[in-house]
Symmetry: C6
Subunit: 77 residues, 6 copies
């Protein structure tokens, strides 16, 4: 797989949150590498409240990691 | 996306909890950007005990991050 | 919303556990603000083993935060 | 409620694991205080693989807290 | 219950992972003490993708604890 | 079982993420050792949105451990 993750460092908490989203998506891409199939599955979770909550939970877990890696952006904020 | 997260710092634990709620909602908004669709999905979780428990869990995970970022508000309380 | 969370500090681990229960309930109250509706939903989880396990999990996550905030009550016990 | 949790300190990791089980049960007892009802619900999870896995997960989360509180029993082992 | 957990220390990360598996199984054994019943339940999760994913999650949580207890095996690796 | 995990150290965050995927798979392999059966189960989760989200969550939890073990790759990035 190509390089997609060089560092956990981000400039701002929001950039960190968006990196957490990327990490969450990557977990799915590694498991289901077909972009076409993932596109077909999109309605299964994008219109389902419980799936959206589950997605938000995965993002929250990845955000914990990234926030710790950035020392919670304490120095810059 | 517009700027919505500048800092993880909050004045009080309650403000931190409410920021955790915002983070949890954002995870859903990024995944389902349509505000109208999210409004339609609202009854699916707001009237469902298990969905509400799941929402509370995502908030709890985000609150862990924010509480750590604020050093548990030890200095001010 | 009124003030309901001033500090994560508690005198004892048990008080901390009970604060974790409050945090877990608050996640639900913010999402479903109607007390009447929440009362109606109560049988859906209070008589369901899997829902009760899920509630206990949310409490466990919040208790992690509160225990860390209190330095695990090491100084006083 | 009576006093049931005085300290997170335990002599051994196994005692800590058993305290994690107690914490997990307490989350359920606070939510469903009727001992009779909880007894009736027991077959719903004790004979269900997914429920047992979920119980083990709640114990694992509580064990994280207790292990940290005991500094992972590093000094004594 | 007999002694089954003396220390969280292991020589290698892999031994730590295998201890995490043991902890995960113990959570189930304490809740369903009958070895015969657990054997009957085995097909319910060993042939079910979602159950296997859930098992792997419990192991992951316990591995976090054990890895921290061993200071991530930094000294020896 | 053969040696498959020597160290939690990796050169880059992406290598760490890929090790987290390996840990997540191992949790399943230890529980269902038959490679043939696991292959048969693959469609059950690779074409199911909720299963893929669950897999991504297990990876996220394991990545927390590996990121901490590598001190978030702070020194090298």
């Amino acid at each position: 797989m190509e390089r997609w993750l060089i560092s956990l460092k981000t400039s701002t908490p929001q950039d960190g949150y968006e990196l957490a989203i990327l990490l969450s998506q990557k977990g799915i891409q590694y498991t289901q590498p077909s972009a076409e199939l993932r596109r077909e599955l999109r309605p299964c979770y994008a219109y389902d409240a419980d799936s959206l909550i589950a997605v938000s939970q995965v993002i929250a877990i990845n955000f914990q990691t990234i926030a710790a890696a950035n020392n919670y952006w304490r120095d810059t904020c």
